[in-house]
């Protein structure tokens, strides 16, 4: 009976088999590492953009937001970037576990390492223009959902409408429901980068004093993202009313 070693040597010669080249394995092993690092870098960039978007959110409005704090969080949380962070991190995890010795590390060690690296990287990237640019690109291509009707509730202190005229400390507003309001802005906080012009749609938060008068605490552009984009473009720091 033929020995196994002889059978195998015969088979190797018959099929003209040869060990694959070292270069093939190097390309494969380093390729996985390169892809894993690219995925990690992507996760860091997305963390940076996520953080930038959170930092630029209208946190001052949290106590005043229509629909309450949960509605504010639902409107503010950058779900899109969160999804991209999770996808890039999952891909980085998948690839890292497939590196030559990646299996030796536990799930928590790998996932924790990816989390720490992407957060550290993301925070470092906040100093660069990349996160704002990505954010602007996203807003441009996928405008966030904004519900005008949520802001038209004078009884609850919210007004939404188009500026009809501007007097020194008074705005005449054509509201969304076709009513006309005199909005007192004497004590209102207005973002410095926001210039109110006639014809512009705005949001006001304040108190209804009677059927046609409203005292504003905050005056904001119609769409919250409008302000964010202005800040990103001008590289402005956190809001200062």
């Amino acid at each position: 009976m033929q020995k196994l070693s002889e059978k195998i040597l015969t088979e190797i010669k018959k099929r003209k088999l040869a060990p694959h080249s070292r270069a093939l394995f190097l390309v494969k092993n380093y390729g996985i590492w390169v892809l894993a690092l690219i995925a990690l870098l992507a996760a860091a960039i997305f963390v940076g953009t996520f953080s930038a978007e959170l930092l630029q959110a209208e946190w001052e409005l949290l106590p005043h937001f229509p629909g309450g704090e949960m509605n504010f969080i639902a409107h503010t949380l950058p779900i899109f970037w969160l999804a991209t962070i999770l996808a890039a991190s999952a891909f980085a995890y998948f690839l890292f576990r497939r590196t030559k010795h990646g299996y030796r590390f536990g799930v928590l060690a790998v996932a924790g390492g990816i989390f720490v690296a992407s957060v550290a990287g993301g925070i470092s990237l906040l100093a660069t223009p990349l996160p704002p640019q990505l954010h602007a690109l996203r807003v441009q291509n996928f405008p966030p959902h904004f519900e005008e009707s949520e802001w038209m509730d004078p009884e609850e202190g919210f007004l939404f409408g188009e500026v009809f005229s501007i007097e020194e400390k008074l705005l005449i507003l054509n509201a969304r429901d076709a009513s006309v309001w005199n909005v007192d802005i004497t004590t209102a906080k207005i973002p410095p980068e926001f210039v109110i012009v006639i014809g512009e749609k705005i949001r006001a938060i304040g108190t209804k004093t009677d059927d046609t008068n409203f005292t504003a605490d905050f005056i904001l552009p119609a769409n919250p993202r409008q302000l964010e984009r202005a800040r990103f473009e001008r590289n402005m720091p956190m809001r200062a009313y």
Binding site: E6, E11, I12, P19, Y103, G106
Partner: protein
């Protein structure tokens, strides 16, 4: 293939790999060194005939030969080639789409496994014991079965099992612990069912 000089270091696996890469005839040394343990391992973890096991073994050695340059000398060669065997067995199962229902064990091996996992004296009839262990191993999940075989029959340490199964060492320890528990529980239930 010339006989190995006694004073050489040729029984070192790394050296054997180096020689096999230089001349395919020298690959026979690796095959001869590992054919018995690998065939035993393949038969232990899969429900295939000896003939089928030998065919599978041939594929394992051919695959190992083609991937010889991927062998990382920081690992044990045995772990590397056991990993290839493990993968081939799994791929063979998938091709056949069958679940392993039995395990090939010698009576003495069954006794050894039972003693290692349950810490009981094994003075019972070896044939009865082998049948009993077979039935228990057939009932526990495959991941537990393989880790018990690697640990107690192949005498692999945790680091080697980690390299063969591609899971962290901590998970190997947990897996061995759970496998022993599963074996113990299943064995206990089997004994109860037999006598009640």
């Amino acid at each position: 293939m010339p006989p190995l000089p006694k004073d050489s270091n040729l029984d070192s696996d790394v050296e054997l790999v180096r020689l096999a890469l230089a001349d395919s005839d020298d690959y026979a040394r690796i095959v001869e060194k590992y054919e018995r343990p690998l065939l035993r391992y393949v038969l232990r973890i899969s429900n295939i005939s000896r003939e089928e096991g030998e065919d599978l073994l041939q594929n394992i050695f051919l695959k190992a030969y083609q991937n010889l340059r991927d062998f990382d000398s920081s690992l044990k060669f045995s772990s590397w080639i056991y990993r290839i065997a493990h993968n081939e067995v799994i791929s063979n199962w998938r091709k056949k789409s069958v679940r392993i229902a039995e395990v090939s064990l010698e009576s003495a091996e069954a006794a050894q496994l039972l003693k290692s996992t349950l810490d009981i004296p094994t003075t019972t009839d070896e044939r009865f014991l082998a049948e009993f262990v077979h039935s228990i191993l057939a009932k526990i999940p495959q991941k537990y079965r393989e880790v018990l075989i690697l640990r107690y029959l192949e005498s692999k340490d945790y680091a080697e099992i980690s390299d063969i199964l591609h899971c962290p060492m901590g998970s190997v320890a947990t897996l061995v612990h759970r496998a022993k528990k599963a074996f113990e529980l299943t064995a206990g239930e089997a004994v109860l069912n037999k006598f009640i």
